[in-house]
């Protein structure tokens, strides 16, 4: 089974037409890969579907805008993968999951 990072890297490669081998765990989605907000909507849809979650993009954006978080925490891909793993774990731990 591929890692969460591999799954999101594949999604990004396919959605944004970025060569897969240029997408690294340390890549910043915006600063390094040049992904804009519209492409990120597409990526978020694909990630939500693939993992059965709802990434809290608005909450993350608000935290960055308020200075409570950095973009690196959410948009460096290994960090994004970690956030996704947390969301999946929370979903699986929820009652009725």
């Amino acid at each position: 089974m591929s890692s969460t990072f591999d799954q999101i890297a594949n999604i990004i490669a396919e959605t944004c037409d970025i060569p897969r081998d240029t997408i690294k765990p340390e890549s910043h989605a915006i600063d390094d890969l040049g992904i804009d907000s519209l492409d990120f909507l597409d990526i978020a849809f694909a990630i939500d579907k693939a993992f059965g979650i709802k990434m809290p993009l608005e909450k993350w954006t608000q935290e960055v805008n308020d200075g409570k978080a950095t973009t690196e925490q959410y948009f460096v891909l290994q960090n994004l993968a970690d956030r996704i793993d947390e969301l999946v774990a929370a979903k699986n731990a929820a009652p009725g999951a």
Binding site: L41, A44, F45, K54, M55, L57, E58, T61
Partner: protein, 157 residues
């Protein structure tokens, strides 16, 4: 369908918030200057307008699901397929269904038919934002009344 004002949906036939789907009707005008150019001798609804009609149908669904607290703005159109010609005077029936509600965005799938014949389909993504201007919100309320949007459906959970 008021092409000059880009108001393409005439009436809401059914809104099912539990199943997250809407059915609307749009009467294509029998005559309009658009058909003089598109095309002489073979008037047909432009595909971009069919796509817009599917987007507006989806928009009404999302407004219902969001209880008119946020406005859906068209962001991405995928897999837009024009499957058959739509002639002036046709009654277009469009169904839209929520595919996914994400954080700050939503994705729908829409299909347009004339009679039983499927004419167009698309997957459409919207950004969901607070109404940028109170005038717009008032306008959407007025439009909702005009097209028979069942506002009572969103007033109780």
């Amino acid at each position: 369908m008021d092409l000059d004002y880009f108001k393409l949906i005439d009436r809401v036939v059914d809104l099912n918030l539990d199943e997250k789907r809407i059915t609307v009707e749009a009467q294509v005008p029998a005559t309009h200057t658009i058909f003089e150019g598109h095309f002489p001798g073979f008037p047909t609804m432009p595909g971009v307008l069919l796509t817009e009609a599917m987007a507006q149908s989806s928009g009404w669904l999302l407004l219902g699901l969001l209880k008119f607290e946020r406005m859906p703005f068209l962001a991405i159109v995928k897999e837009a397929k024009m499957r058959g010609f739509v002639s002036p005077g046709s009654l277009l029936t469009i169904e839209a269904k929520l595919e996914h509600e994400g954080s700050g965005f939503a994705v729908t799938k829409a299909k347009g038919r004339v009679g039983k014949e499927l004419k167009c389909s698309a997957e459409i993504t919207f950004g969901l934002t607070p109404f940028p201007d109170p005038t717009m919100r008032v306008h959407m309320d007025a439009m909702a009344n005009k097209i028979g949007f069942p506002l009572q459906a969103i007033t109780h959970d």
